[in-house]
Subunit: 375 residues, 5 copies
Amino acid sequence: MKKPLKRIQYNPRRRAGVIGESPGVVIPPEDALKPLITIFSYNAKELVSSEGKDIKVIFDQFKKCSDHTHWIQVRGLGDATLIEEVGAILNINPLVLEDIANVHQRPKFDDYDDYIFAVSRMISFSIDYQLVNLQFSALVKDNIIITFEETHKEHFEGVKNRLAAGKGAIRTAGAGYMCYALTDTILDRYFALLAQLGEQLDEVEDRLYDHADKSIMYETQQLKRTLIVLRRACWPERDKINDMLRTESPLISPEIKMFLKDAYDHCIQIMDLVEGYKEITSSIMDIYLSMVSNRMNEIMKVLTIISVIFIPLTFIAGVYGMNFSRVDPVTNKVMPDNLPELYNPHGYFYALGGMLIIGIIQVVVFWKKGWFSKL
Amino acid sequence: MKKPLKRIQYNPRRRAGVIGESPGVVIPPEDALKPLITIFSYNAKELVSSEGKDIKVIFDQFKKCSDHTHWIQVRGLGDATLIEEVGAILNINPLVLEDIANVHQRPKFDDYDDYIFAVSRMISFSIDYQLVNLQFSALVKDNIIITFEETHKEHFEGVKNRLAAGKGAIRTAGAGYMCYALTDTILDRYFALLAQLGEQLDEVEDRLYDHADKSIMYETQQLKRTLIVLRRACWPERDKINDMLRTESPLISPEIKMFLKDAYDHCIQIMDLVEGYKEITSSIMDIYLSMVSNRMNEIMKVLTIISVIFIPLTFIAGVYGMNFSRVDPVTNKVMPDNLPELYNPHGYFYALGGMLIIGIIQVVVFWKKGWFSKL
Amino acid sequence: MKKPLKRIQYNPRRRAGVIGESPGVVIPPEDALKPLITIFSYNAKELVSSEGKDIKVIFDQFKKCSDHTHWIQVRGLGDATLIEEVGAILNINPLVLEDIANVHQRPKFDDYDDYIFAVSRMISFSIDYQLVNLQFSALVKDNIIITFEETHKEHFEGVKNRLAAGKGAIRTAGAGYMCYALTDTILDRYFALLAQLGEQLDEVEDRLYDHADKSIMYETQQLKRTLIVLRRACWPERDKINDMLRTESPLISPEIKMFLKDAYDHCIQIMDLVEGYKEITSSIMDIYLSMVSNRMNEIMKVLTIISVIFIPLTFIAGVYGMNFSRVDPVTNKVMPDNLPELYNPHGYFYALGGMLIIGIIQVVVFWKKGWFSKL
Amino acid sequence: MKKPLKRIQYNPRRRAGVIGESPGVVIPPEDALKPLITIFSYNAKELVSSEGKDIKVIFDQFKKCSDHTHWIQVRGLGDATLIEEVGAILNINPLVLEDIANVHQRPKFDDYDDYIFAVSRMISFSIDYQLVNLQFSALVKDNIIITFEETHKEHFEGVKNRLAAGKGAIRTAGAGYMCYALTDTILDRYFALLAQLGEQLDEVEDRLYDHADKSIMYETQQLKRTLIVLRRACWPERDKINDMLRTESPLISPEIKMFLKDAYDHCIQIMDLVEGYKEITSSIMDIYLSMVSNRMNEIMKVLTIISVIFIPLTFIAGVYGMNFSRVDPVTNKVMPDNLPELYNPHGYFYALGGMLIIGIIQVVVFWKKGWFSKL
Amino acid sequence: MKKPLKRIQYNPRRRAGVIGESPGVVIPPEDALKPLITIFSYNAKELVSSEGKDIKVIFDQFKKCSDHTHWIQVRGLGDATLIEEVGAILNINPLVLEDIANVHQRPKFDDYDDYIFAVSRMISFSIDYQLVNLQFSALVKDNIIITFEETHKEHFEGVKNRLAAGKGAIRTAGAGYMCYALTDTILDRYFALLAQLGEQLDEVEDRLYDHADKSIMYETQQLKRTLIVLRRACWPERDKINDMLRTESPLISPEIKMFLKDAYDHCIQIMDLVEGYKEITSSIMDIYLSMVSNRMNEIMKVLTIISVIFIPLTFIAGVYGMNFSRVDPVTNKVMPDNLPELYNPHGYFYALGGMLIIGIIQVVVFWKKGWFSKL
């Protein structure tokens, strides 16, 4: 009954540190990757990008492109010093820096007077169908947006392409717009994930009617859990976007809010889909359990009917197998009352015929009662 | 166990485009139909209508009827250029145009300063009882209303008749009223759909008490899903109408709001019906499962009682079928203790009689215990 | 399994008309009764009443009693013209008139500038225990209240008696008070209905412990549905009374609001009772299902124990019914190993005794294991 | 299956009167007790109390103690005139008087301009473990508080002791404080009741694991219903105290509100306990049902295994009980193929041995498959 | 079936006193420990601490360190006088003192004009895996914070270490910050507890798929209850922190509120985890029950199939065990119709072969029907 169910982790290990430790200490996860810094500086005219592994690359770029908007993409949280240095440059609250390194935050939007901080969850399937739930956090201040991701994997190819192409508002609408664009891309991935789940659901449902077996139960459970994870990411995401829509921070301009309203609609659609899928998984589970129980009942019924048909016949055979004596062994007197049927020249066939008739009668009666029809 | 269950699609494919793509791009669904444009220009005195396949027909009509209210009905979303041209004429936000082409919007009402945008879902059964869930969107600006539908099918015959007849407020109350009239017609269709579902429910319920079989389970599941789809369309529809009631846009005049309040009541009634039907489907399911289980139990009970009645009888026959020897084969000494019953002249009939009595006693005992009565 | 379950109609046929038809058209239900008009004109001093079948009786009475408060009771909605004429006299919005004739409204209170409109549901059992869910609507303007009912049946005897007696506020507090008095009477009827349901519940529950049979399931389902109908009438009724409490219309004076607060409390009590009864029906259902399952299990257990007791005995009888030969038929050599028990002079009784002992051991073992005790 | 379940009454008989009767009529319950009036007049210095059966005792005391605070405790509602006279003295709205006599009110707080009215439910077990749900109502005006109870039983011994002792705020804080003190005492009783229920739950749960029988189901149902009654009393009680906290009536001074906040916390704690207990009852029910089903399954499994072990053995015995003839009765030719085993000198023991081996193999196979282990 | 289930107490014994007793009386729990007072006086420069068992130690320290912030940690509530003396020093409302001693408070935050009062629950497992739910309360006034705990156990080592180290805001941010720091430490313990629960859940789930037995049910129930206790502590904790965030008391400065917002996020995360774990426990329970039922069904099916295969074979053996006579014992006439098979020279082998074929056919038919495959 061993089942390689891919379990979804609900990590409760919030802090690597000791209980009661001082807040605002940056403690990256133990298995955090070394950071990889990519910095894009852009304005309507040009896009300059460079890459590096430490804070120097940022300073160099700032010097080069003083009147650009900067998107600093930090992939890998393994270097607490880097996060602290970034915090120092922008004068960020240590509690925010702690949240960046502590990768179990719910999506949220915090508005500090001169900068904003936003967290999202990036949920996807890994190659071996493990559900991966990573943290994406963004700090926006003036014309700078710094984003932090847990892995080196490229998640924002589309945004980078748009940045390179330079069409649309992306080059000119400032760091707040970039924050929106990245958030919306994360939502797009949710749609992609839901499309995948939808296909799995379809496949499971097809299997349900074709050849239901136990795997359906496990896979439905698995899908349900994935949906729970998605829902737990999506509800606070909606609240976060709502907070962004209502913020009075100048970093989120009315123009950006128009786009955010679009993202808000997407978020609602995702929640709608998640709820819809949850209802389907429940109904698949119900149908499956009902089918199993029905099939079991059918089998038991058929087996029992077969037994019952033979029981009176076996009894009759038993009766005619009794050894009541026709002739008293001592006096040799014939006792004509004892099993006279046995001494009828055609008794055997009469008995067989009787059995046949009894069997047929039973079958007919059960048939009439509708016991052979499937319920 | 294959079951041709008509599955209801929950399409998660929001965007045909790539993840992270620029917002505001009009990408019609792949299987979208070529657009068919009908334009009605009307005032209290006259109704002018023309048809066409491209934007030219609109310009022509505008020129002809400069002081009329215009209803431009676009059926088929297969031409992105047309949607963009329409957007350009009225100066519409590209995000709105994207929503028109992207047919998975929830019902919503967006109030832009000088125009309004409303989305509804048109839900109906196709000829082969497939549930069809289409998007209807309406743009209202000044004296112009442009509506977009996914198919060429005529959904608004009633409205067109009223327009032709020219009675009531329809000719004079402006583009906002037309928006109400079309929305209300869509709600009317929901009532029609619910009437259909109600009849199906009645039919299923009749069948439940007449001759319950497995089809009841599948059909109830099917009905439940349809109701879920309806509910998911109806809740945001209510919010949308509520938003329309509260808007301060001059396009929705107080007079129109009075009518919208009526539509709002209809929406609540639909939700009420949907919830009521959902409760009925649940209770049908419960009764069905309980009936199946009861019937199964009844059968098993009857079969087991038959078995049990025969078991002691068969045992007795077995006893009298034992070969305990009356006469020692070697010494030929008679052993009168061995199965003396067999040598009684009427032993056989006594045995049969005893069996009969035992059987009757069992039947009577089981009867007394109420085991034959249905639970 | 046919069951004459009195089904409760959830009529989805909102409009008799065509989809997309003009709003505000009065279309009475097809089976509507011819209207019966009773008009009561009263002030502190006198009460004048007359009856008739058309609008004339109203005009006559108006002429006669110019400074009275008038209660015009219209029973039967079969005459669209009458409703339209009444609407014309009082200058009522056609949408309101439509709601009067369209008898599937939820309870609601609409406040138009110079008149108010209230809808309630009158729920009762007909003589043949059919649940009847009728619409009651009231229009109040100046000193006139017009009420519309679906049937000719007298529902407001108590109010008429109080009107005749002339005690209390009823004669002097105006048309708004009459609206309250009629609404409160409808709520009183809910209490009466709930008392009836309470007695049925008690009776079903008594039966549950006395002699549970399948009828309990059907009746509980039936009660549950009735409660659902009541709840669906009562929730919006509460909202309606709440709206009346908050209205600023002069037709609902502060004095009347004090009485309405009382009615509001009654409404809450009704909802409380309905919820309480629903919980009882659920628990009856649960106990019933559990009892059925327990009883079934008990029967199956007893039957199986009987079978199992006989199985080894029958096996022993079978063993001693084997025909192993004591004497080789060819060589006539005695084979003393073959079934020597059969040739023991008291073998039969030893065998019977052994069987008895085995049976007793089984009974004792099963008893010790507690298998005979009820679970 | 008769079960002396102490049923909890949900009395729907709100009004003893006729449907549609005038509001504000005082109709005591039919079985109401004759009233017993106790009046306490107190100030910081002295406490004067007297008792009587009619309104005179109140007037006497008023005359004697003109500058005291008065607590008039009326126990027994059997005298409508008394209630009306009390109402007349204090100039109380008839609707309030009706609510005093009509003992099915939900807890509520009504603030009339110069007096306040509060209702609570007093819930306790009677001596024969019947749940008793009585109404307590209090009228506070100026320095007078009049309380009405349904029975003569003493519920407020503690308060009276404190009044006699004269410590704390009770003598000086006015009639509003007395209203708080009595309400808080009622809440204290809820805690006592919950302690009782908690012990019953513990006892039932102990029994569940010790020797579960059907009584568990009935008692759990009973406890659940008691909890429902408590919850239905406690939720509106909370709202009532909240209303008292928010009232602007000078009868509830800020000092009293501080105490009321304490009572509010108690109310929340009670609700918390009720919800907690409800969850426990549900889980007891679930465990019980699961235990019953498991135990049943175990029994059926054991019985079936016994059957199955004997079935092949009985078959073998049957085979060797067949009468295939070794010698043709006519030709006397030996037929060596027919049942040669029967003529083997040790055939019987071989057969018995074979049966034993088959039986052992079955036991081993079933053991290996883990069918003997409990699930 | 006895099960040493560690039951979680829901203590309803709010007050040790008598019903109706005066509010504001300090009555410690009967089994309360003698208090142990530790007092920390600190400012940016130094940290002075002393320990004692009565109020004197506090006065001494106050004298010594007049311009410090004081944290007075009282562990053990067994001395009512101490609590009252503390209340007298700081001039605290008696209701607050009552709440300190009465250890069944829900988490709450009360803002009195010049001091604040906060209650939390400290939940942990004792050494013998008993769930311990202790009250922690804190009084903050001016530069003094007094905390009350039920046991002598050290819960705040981390905070004391930080205090000793003197880094961060802890020494300088005042008594309000200490209140935050202690609350946050309690939340940290919740995370630790949840980590423990998470591991138990993982372990139970592993066991579920490896070798499910009854212990899973009991442990899941146990975990579920622990989660209920946690949830009941955590919901009001969130409200409490929210109240602290919104208070206008100067004791909670904006700087502290920033930290509290962090604690609020932690609280939400805890609630999220608790809900997530609850869903997992439910799904483990569902899978377990479904597995038990499936396994049972499998066993019964296999057993029944074995029975049914042998039933017709046993019947055939019974038929050929009948004693129909080949030769009339009286006339010695041969009756060739009676069981002619028995006199066929190879009848026995034909019969055995026939049985074998019938058995094989049955196996094949059942196989084809898929009855051997697991459902």
